[in-house]
Subunit: 288 residues, 6 copies
């Protein structure tokens, strides 16, 4: 690369760096991209860079595969109902330990190595996320629906210069069945709720797909931008299907409640966060 | 109780409340007292009260019994060398998950229920505690010796109004064998190092004994106050023995490095923290 | 008392200490309770404790008996019209000297000895209270009706960590008959006006009675709580009579203008302030 | 006066106004000048102007004549020993009432009318001045020698925008004979001690004389400037005599302990404070 | 002058100094008064005094004669259309150099010598003034009409303790014909726009006339005060004529947009600023 | 360029952006690079980017060619003595006008267009640079040697978010021959003195050469890093010659007085500032 090219990249990044300084960006991280060691290090490095230029970044993560693995080591087969994990008490204990004790702290460690002081939190910390028992359809055990997000602890961490990494375990709302103190919650929904509570500029879902494709077999049919109001039609037309539906709906909801824009981008592409934020190129689908 | 008696307690508490406002008190919590559900709730309530009257309280905890239980559920017998846990990679993973993901967050939840916003941290968060591999004697695997405590994250949490709860897992110092990111460290030592780094007024070890007893079978022989310089003699005379030796030495070291005073008190006595801090009675042994 | 009982008192005090931190409590002090040396010291000690736990306490006091005594030493018989002191120029000079120079500074001294830095003020200081000549009914000389309370000086004192002690002498409103610079004002009314100006959480009148009694000869008939709207009926029914009427009306007015609650409690009961504020027991009558 | 002359005065005042902004000037006010109603109003107006242009002014006052008058009204003849008031308990009560309750608050009222928010304090407030019983020579009762000045309350008042007016009554140092809470102290000495505690730029004694005169009958022999070291010679030569000796010595002491300069000026000359501070002319004697 | 007279001036100045502290006064300076070396030094001294007593003073200046002189030195005859300078590109270069490089920095130097740290700015600095090409009537080249005033830089300078001196050169509004970066703008209009943007207390035009005279040959017919609404009539009646019309209209407009009052005073009278601001006398015409 | 390459540039920039945040970088700009319109716009853009990422950038500039041109337009031939401009009064007037009025404000305008609010200053503003008449060797007229740099105005501008652009004209030190208010000073020296006064991290001289070359005809012989102590030898060996000598000496002096490092880089290379600061490549010679 020539110095001129280097300068071109830096110069192009300028208006973005300027526009995002002091703004909040909530990144949801999960799935396959999270398993790959080298991708994880790159995501950590990207988040560190974002922090460096004054973006208030928050990382929200799940960790399904790690939970499954630990359950199996304990001799317990993971069980799902309509795609949601059936969470009995023993499972919940494992969910909390694995998410808040292992995945979360490992991500904090990676960020630290990338030069970015981070702090690992879950919904129980500082009353960050409270939930009540999932009430629709079949009994799912300790699967929770988010009742409230209290952003005070996130603000304190950000103000102190620490990037918050949030494991999606919620505290039981008060008065609740009492015996249980934690709920298993959906990570996309949690990220969206946190983005709303922090009045974030952007919500970014790092996924295993390039974004919304009109033709799933043709990367050239990527929908670059989608108004919130167009989401319904996309689903009815069958363009958005299956696991993508809740992701897109949760993006639309976040934007509807005040988040600047929501992005579904491909976490498997190296440094997709940087490219999305700091270059004219952009990648993935943006919901506005 | 009469109003007069109530007023007497409150009046007596006055000079203590005044003296401790804005001061830092680091409490190490562990052992049997920690297993008992109702004692745990009382310790949480006491810490909440301390916070309420402006004390900057920090809770440091281990969790040996929970670790042992989880290891056994995973089919692995806990192994100790000279009283220290032999910590191979698999054990370390469990130590981290159990301490930082289960015991830690459960304590945070209890504090939250007691009306005290808390935040669960471990040494990996914000570079709080870094350690290097234990170097004396036999190989213990990932048992670490503390190299440095960076109190920035604790200060940010305290400033934000959150009581830090610290699980004793440390980040590996940089340059380190690389493969490992976390070390198992001693909770008493960690509490002492944190107290020193925060220039704490008090270090309180909540233990399973009433303090130092000249005659272990006679509670009336409690040593109420012990100068730091007298610790050596106590050990030589055989008054302080076995598991008590490292505790007393670590108290003496903390006081020698600037902590106001160190206390070994009986965590099995209900509300021993409150009584120690806010009444003329006091309990346990104070090292000054 | 056992340690458990001590802890119980402290634990019970917790939610109150928490709820009142940073809140303003205006205490009116007068009458018989003020004469008794040992009660005065206890009130000072209670106020010091309140300050200690972060309550912004303000003490407002009169001093009728001391004024009478000084007038008599000067060979002048105190004179009252419908319970209000007839205040000619010479009397006013004595009122000001005795309240602002003697009673006020003696209370400040007591608070100082109790470890609570206080500052003695009257309405003339910093334009704190301005009054105009009492206009209803018979001429009372320099008896004043409060026109305005400027809380700036109180705020500066509280911010600086000093408990304000206010003698109920007011500055003449500008343009006023000119010759006179000070007015004699009612202490209950002054305390209520100060509570309103400071948006106080509580107004507490320390009196010589246990509160409002349905049957004055039976302490068991104490009215514990009374809605502001119920005050009129209480007076019509003859439950509230004589000197109690203006006290109750002034409580109702303060609550109507934004003070959280007003309390009439028995200043002759030792530490009644502490018991009222920090225990579930409470004492006296609360108007809400 | 022409506009040119007006502008000349304002222009000349410029470097002084600039030099004194944010500086502390302690003014001692007493004697005959204080009796004259119109001079009092002018002094108040001058202090208000000083405040206006950002000078941190503090007024310290005595009030001998008013004390004498009140003692006599109470049928008690004032008694002096070597020029110092013999202060038995009854006298002390009158001293406190008259100084802190009457003279002090009247000055505060005058300053208020001049548009300058002031606050009336005495040594008892906020532990401002503590004293111990005068120990040299004959017993003088409750005459005190200053032990310490705590300037915190003065700083809080000045920061809040209030000019402190200090009556020279001191709190008894702790441990003291207990029965007594206040002492009668010398106003010049108190002003000097306050100037030292506040690291004042200037100490100004408003007196009944034009300054130090070499020939007391010839105003032309005024000593305009006197180095601190020259004070002893002046006394030995008999230039400084009688009541002037303690004033001059107390100026010299203040300068020796860090006050920028001390001034003895004629309080009977209208607006002598303004002329001294803001014109090249200056008046009186300056000790440097 | 006697000390009494000196004190009278200072005392009279008190309410004004108090009223103007922290208030913004924008002074437009130009014309003949600006040529005279000694008047310039006096204006600088007056502004320094204003700054000294806490007035946020801003100086706006033109410099027609200096521009004419430089143009002629470059062999170019100044050209005017309806009293407005025809400003071709070459002229604009000279306007900018002379105003922003010479007149401006010379005034800053004078203020510095008067003890007042100043900073020389023009409309290009910090986007202070943006303009678009003058659009009414004949083509005037780079004569600009003010589009916006951004007071951020002025606020930063004032906050830092520096008196802003503004040369009336404006930056071209964005999108503009591109080639040109600066416009020549009218100094009265610029001063008025700056006064509005800063929510100034006063706008003062230092001119070559005593103010509005009903009879131009009789200084006794000076109109001391004129309501904004009376300006139209004054012009229709022919009292305000020629070059005075835009000045008066621009004063009226400023007052209409929130400036406290606008003053047309005689810059040839020594210290006219001081007299106008700080004495009861006042001078010139005030539009309210 | 691929996204991967883009990300690589951004990632590489990370440690630099982080290291320089909040640090001060003084850039001296002059010579041929400054004449070229497009290079000027690129320098402005680079400085804007530096500001964007939190670097406290200060631009110092000369403008010899423009001064020469204006002198010639005024019919005056530029005159040099030993490479220094002979500066009579008329020349000084032109130097000030051209530097502070034209070159300076044009650069400010360019920065503004690049989205970076800037403020154009010279040494006269806020007493920024004071100088005395050049005293060595032949008389050079108003050529000045820097006596002091007062960074207060620069700090106020930087704090307010404005990039200071400094024209190298100095105010005459007080007491000076009086007639003259400004001096012509060397831009490299001024930049170095400003860097020292601001305790800058870096001083960067944007020149017309690639840095120090061992063989002037071979770009491959660039000296990348040179310890301050090695400068003397380089001159003696004849590696550093002619116009380069004062530049190198002034870099060495700045580093000796506390500046982190000094850089001589090629201003003709597009975006050389960005490449120097934010890439591993670096360019030019660094003196440490």
């Amino acid at each position: 690369m020539t110095n001129n090219e280097r300068a071109a990249v830096l110069s192009q990044a300028l208006p973005y760096i300027k526009a995002f300084r002091g703004k909040t960006v909530v990144v949801k991280y999960g799935g396959a991209a999270m398993i790959n060691e080298s991708l994880r290090a790159e995501v950590a490095s990207d988040l560190a860079l974002m922090s460096c230029v004054g973006i208030r970044a928050v990382l929200v993560h799940g960790g399904g595969p790690e939970i499954d693995a630990m359950l199996r080591r304990l001799g317990k087969e993971p069980k799902f109902v309509n795609g949601l994990r059936f969470t009995d008490d023993e499972t919940m204990e494992v969910v909390q330990m694995v998410l808040a004790g292992k995945v979360n702290k490992d991500l904090v460690g990676l960020l630290g190595k990338a030069g970015c002081p981070a702090v690992g939190l879950c919904g129980v910390d500082g009353g960050l996320i409270t939930a009540r028992r999932h009430s629709k359809g079949e009994d799912l055990g300790l699967v929770g629906e988010i009742e409230a997000v209290n952003p005070d602890l996130l603000e304190a961490a950000l103000k102190g210069g620490f990037l918050p990494v949030v494991a999606t375990v919620a505290a039981g709302a008060e008065g609740e069945g009492a015996a249980h103190k934690a709920y298993n919650i959906n990570a996309d929904t949690a990220a969206a709720a946190i983005a709303v509570a922090l009045k974030a500029e952007k919500l970014v879902l790092l996924t295993d797909v390039p974004g919304i494709l009109r033709d799933v077999s043709d990367a050239g049919t990527l929908v670059r931008e989608l108004p919130r109001s167009g989401v319904g039609a996309m689903i009815q037309e069958g363009v958005v299907t299956k696991g993508m539906i809740p992701k897109v709906e949760c993006c639309a909801k976040a934007v509807g409640e005040g988040v600047g824009s929501a992005h579904i981008i491909d976490g498997r592409v190296p440094h997709s966060l940087l490219v999305e934020l700091f270059t004219d190129a952009g990648i993935g689908t943006m919901i506005v």
